[in-house]
Symmetry: D2
Subunit: 419 residues, 4 copies
């Protein structure tokens, strides 16, 4: 690991949680160069929902490479891209009754968000954006202006503008945040102008695993309609089946105006990102948002294969089934261990909140890693242990992983007795 | 192509230049689904310097995939990444006497620039940045604030701040732009504060193919030293051998404080980006700039293989040799055709400037495409035809491509007679 | 009036409410060029609390002019200024146990606010400011960024930055706004950084006459102390006795860190403005905030005389006494006329809120003017008739003015029957 | 002076140059409380062009006060205001063939500039402003964004946006700054969008007394016409006859779109400010820019009287005559004393530039004061001694003042021998 410490910037972070050098990965297992195996409850921060090096997808990738099909083509027309578009429209959008045009952007979630912001501002002619407290939307200047994490914001080195942060609905129980938004929109002395868009994650992941209430989502959609504000759903982390439906907003029966996708939409962990926009919003001028790696053909191949795999293996239902296992385990085995703990979650994304046991979440990362489990934390104070396995995790490994969490928790709690 | 027109956003652009659907690519040739072959003078906007689907690199990629080595690992330690770092330090940096730490960012050039801006601002505690008129540094909010293209800037939908644009040295012959910068730094009534960094491309590509003068680059380096301003070289497009040396700044014998790399550094057209920073600048806090696809292992494999290939095949020297062929051809065969034409270039990046023949550059794209050549344009008014083949282009295809340019030019000029 | 319509910009506004040409003014009476007299419930927007052309002050001004004492001296030392400072410290600050240094700024309230913002930012090293929804703090770019009126903000023509608008405490009964502020300060994912200052009016005037609760003010002071945030009270309109104490914050027993004063502090309607700052905040560099008319000596004379007059005539107590008359009249004579009406007020500033009778407030202005009363409106939708006579108004004219309001109201209500 | 040191903020500045307490002022003489008399070469920073306590104006002010004419009336119609408007249109604008509407703003120059910026942005729909390096336009956030002095800008405590600073024409002799502006306007890769307005002082005062060339001003006017950019002339300091014509732009025969006036337009040193705008620009909504002291009636009285006095006493011609005296004196008596000195000026505003004698300008202030002359410095490094007497200065006092400058200079130079 000397090489990394000597030559890689101090900005490196996850490696600090997991002090080993990984070499192989398969489905729900990571293997380090010493052959030690780790169950993966981290899932590449949500980028490998269909598992590491999924065989079905892998075979397509290798064949594509072997055939010398075109790899890099920017936004020129190419056969792999056409196959993806056709499949996405037919197998994903049409069955859900969704009508979107697709924009392929630089292959990062943050780039998709940047594109969404530009489009919303252009379409409406307004400059302001509303985002929720607790939100994470990326680390480039535009998306970072939405992101709420204080350290990330400070990192900008300049003031971040044109965004108003609205309390998340779970923050002030006595405050109806939809009414709050409507009030400040209607009050000619609120100091806050009507925004181009309201951008949300339907489940705040980085904020600490907070699924937003279905009713609230529906009322937000109605509010946006009433005031002609665009509703942007950032599904970069919680899309692609994570919550039990392919798009995270399906559970609320709402249709966003713009959707951003990245991470698992690439299928195999290959960089990929896209924006879905309602056809009437397509006021883009050609080339108005570009990027050298937009439309990476290899990722189109894995993206399509990933969708095929997802549908073939009924991943949405499987996610709900496995999510129920986690839910039950957390309530039966974890919560009873200490009344200071809280759990929240949906589908296969769950959080154990250690806010009331200072220091414990960090110790949990290490205790789990030592026991063969890769898991991260998030949320306010970084206090939330985030359980996010690949959706294809075997029941056996899911159970083992949960048991490791429990064992680790018992060890950590021993050092943090309740008073 | 109906599928694209129906479902893909109007933002798509290159496809409008080349109305066909590509299927295969090999080295310096693109092939469409009808089997028609095109010589590539576009080179994925600089992303495939070592050719499309380079066999040497391809073999490594396929093997890596077949072995189920880890693909997605964020900034966890991994063997492929270590191999890349070691090789980059030993084979690239050390022989050039360069001492940099490496930061792997979201796999787009714009992301590397965003990281460089954050770091420069943090390190210096200053917020302003100087960029050159004519510059292109990306399309996300931070990098876009540097980018000069009016349409791209308007696309932001909000005002772009904290950047001062300095006249490029070629713009006002009577103005010594180094003196200009020094004057506004020293003048307590210039209205412009000392910046954190001056960001440049040593060859402005999107600005219209303008190689900056070596003396000017050296004086800029001295100026930055004198005033403790960071010099950031954006080598996203003109690095990786394009100018005849691996880093574009080598010809001037200068050492930037920060260097951004993307495009061809990935070796095979896979998304990849990195920042090189002098060790003393490494004030990053862990995780202060992140991204899900930073450190994509498959790209580490192709990146390392690409470097091996480059060194093995003496690409730097080859680039200079082929560049001389282009140079000679342009001066002997092209310029004499019409005195309104201008040419500029370095290494294997050349521009034919049609500024004085309105409308001609666009017609050239089409005329070349019809004759089997893929080529793009750039620059002020989009008036500069940009010759940028893969560095590995065969002499034969290089010659053929140039002849197509000449033929196309003769056809286009026929419709634009000099008065 | 042709002259005005022909040559004065369309920006003129109050003249549209009162279509006549005024010539004389005395105490609580305005007289137009036709000799028509109007009771003044407008009070120069709060600038002539001690009455128009107050004889006591007038005599001092004329004598100062006759003696050729220095009038214009920027911030050079001058005898009139010294007299003012001495008197202000001894007769105003010392008896109240207040310890402030004084800064004389350009003679407008907005300039005082601009200075306060600069100082708060410099002292704390933070850039953000919190202001309340409903606030008005001025019309120059810095103060305008705090002001909430949508039309005024749009008038800026550029985005206004670095200010977060907090719900005013009366806006959401279920929301404890002090807790709200504390939560967003403590939440590392609120997206909102700790501000340099919280700027308030203790009675929102332009927002629609909303006196803030004493407990709330005290809790805000405690919150600012706890988090080392500066509390700035903008007393431009509601200082100088308007609320029944000289400083509006006295009723809450709090001591702001910075206080802005203008309007009636000049005593006679002469332009004047100042900032009071706690001694430890005095980190100003010499000349760091300037203005040609800072420290206008004639206004120092009238300002001192105004304070003398105020103390001599027990204006604070008189204000409370007259305020009670208005209070009683509004509740006994006005409110019973229509259940859609609401009244709010403190001291000699009262509002009748016509929000539920659309259009009525504008008609009230005209109906009052026709009956010999000058009165303005403010607030959300401009729906609040604002009763703000000079503090020295005679009981007789106060009563007459109130009766005119009642008569006008009866006439207006006749055209707006409740359904 | 203890009172000031104890109670007045450290921001006070001019008092540090002139350590005494002033009591009287008359025409061109200031008198301190010890009866010591000082010739005034400072002129209230340009605010008392017609002399301190000018008898003609004084008489009108006292009578107005004695008659209890209305003093404070915001922008209600009033007789004094009408008289001013009529006189200004007939005696000032009409004879010069100028057609402007008048806007009365908060009584500070900075407020006039803030209004001009709003109007220019609203009228054009553009946000950017061009200002010249060396410019001073005020200290509130909007005007401060134009002001170039580094210390003043830093004082903002936040980044200042939306302004591009253009090199002043005297800064780079080899650079044609009109061509420079045109180039960046036409270059679609300059990174700088077409501005709403170009704001200039025709003579940069704070920048160090730089009269701009007539040809340059005419070419700028033509450029603004060509590109439909508004030309704003800030005549706050150099208007009202200072340069030898009432408006400073008259010498160039140009007509600005917007003109800002303050300082001496009030006639007597009373706070006053106004904006002149071409009738077609009058797109203001009523009340879109306001201020409590806009349209101060007492200042209308003195402003009108000041104009009468100016015309009656042929101040424009007198200014040129006296200016020639200064010009001659500086070239015959001052410049020969040391070859490091430079002089510049126009009308009755002249600068002696000590840039090449570090420290000398500050010593000059003190040496002059000790000899009975009040004079200030400005410019880069604060190195320019600024000779700016009231325009009505007697020939005798002008001569005496110049002799004091010479004596002081000889004393100062003795301590700074040329090497």
């Amino acid at each position: 690991m000397n090489v990394f410490e000597q030559y890689e910037s101090e900005v490196r972070s996850y490696c600090r949680n997991y002090p080993t050098v990984f070499e192989y990965a398969k489905d729900d297992i990571l293997t380090d160069e010493n052959g030690r195996r780790y169950i993966d409850f981290f899932c590449g921060a949500g980028a490998v929902n269909y598992g590491h090096n999924n065989d079905y997808i892998k075979e397509k990738l290798i064949r594509y490479l072997q055939e010398d099909k075109i790899l890099h083509s920017l936004d020129m027309y190419a056969t792999a891209k056409r196959s993806f578009i056709e499949y996405f429209e037919e197998a994903i959008l049409a069955p859900r009754g969704l009508d979107y045009k697709l924009q392929f952007v630089g292959p990062t979630g943050t780039n998709a968000v940047e594109a969404a912001l530009k489009l919303a501002r252009k379409y409406t002619g307004r400059s302001g954006i509303f985002a929720l407290m607790g939100a994470f939307h990326g680390m480039t200047m535009g998306s970072l202006s939405l992101t709420t994490d204080a350290d990330s914001r400070t990192g900008a080195g300049v003031a971040l503008h044109d965004v108003t942060h609205i309390p998340a609905p779970y923050m002030f129980p006595a405050l109806d945040t939809i009414e709050y938004i409507e009030t400040i929109l209607c009050d000619d002395h609120s100091g806050i102008a009507k925004p181009a868009a309201i951008v949300i994650e339907t489940v705040q992941a980085d904020g600490g695993v907070y699924p937003l209430d279905i009713k609230w989502l529906q009322r937000l959609r109605a509010l946006c309609d009433k005031y002609e504000i665009l509703l942007v759903v950032d599904d970069v982390q919680v899309g692609c089946g994570r919550t039990g439906t392919f798009f995270s907003f399906e559970r609320a029966g709402i249709v966003p105006d713009i959707v951003t996708l990245s991470k698992s939409i690439g299928g195999y962990g290959l960089p990929f990102a896209m924006v879905m926009l309602k056809p009437q919003l397509d006021v883009w001028a050609p080339g108005e948002h570009t990027g050298t790696f937009r439309g990476n053909q290899l990722a189109f191949v894995s993206a399509k294969a990933g969708l095929e795999y997802m549908l073939e293996h009924d991943i949405e239902a499987e996610t709900l089934r496995k999510g129920a296992i986690v839910d039950q385990y957390l309530h039966r085995e974890i919560l009873p261990l200490d009344e200071r703990l809280q759990v929240r979650g949906i589908g296969l994304m769950w959080g154990i909140d250690f806010a009331r046991i200072p220091g414990a979440s960090k110790e949990m990362i290490t205790a789990c890693f030592e026991r063969g489990l890769v898991i991260e934390r998030a949320g306010r104070g970084n206090d939330v242990l985030k359980i996010m396995p690949p959706l294809i995790i075997s029941d056996d490994n899911l159970q083992k992983g949960l048991e490791i969490v429990k064992e680790a928790l018992q060890a950590v709690l021993a050092a943090h007795p309740a008073q």
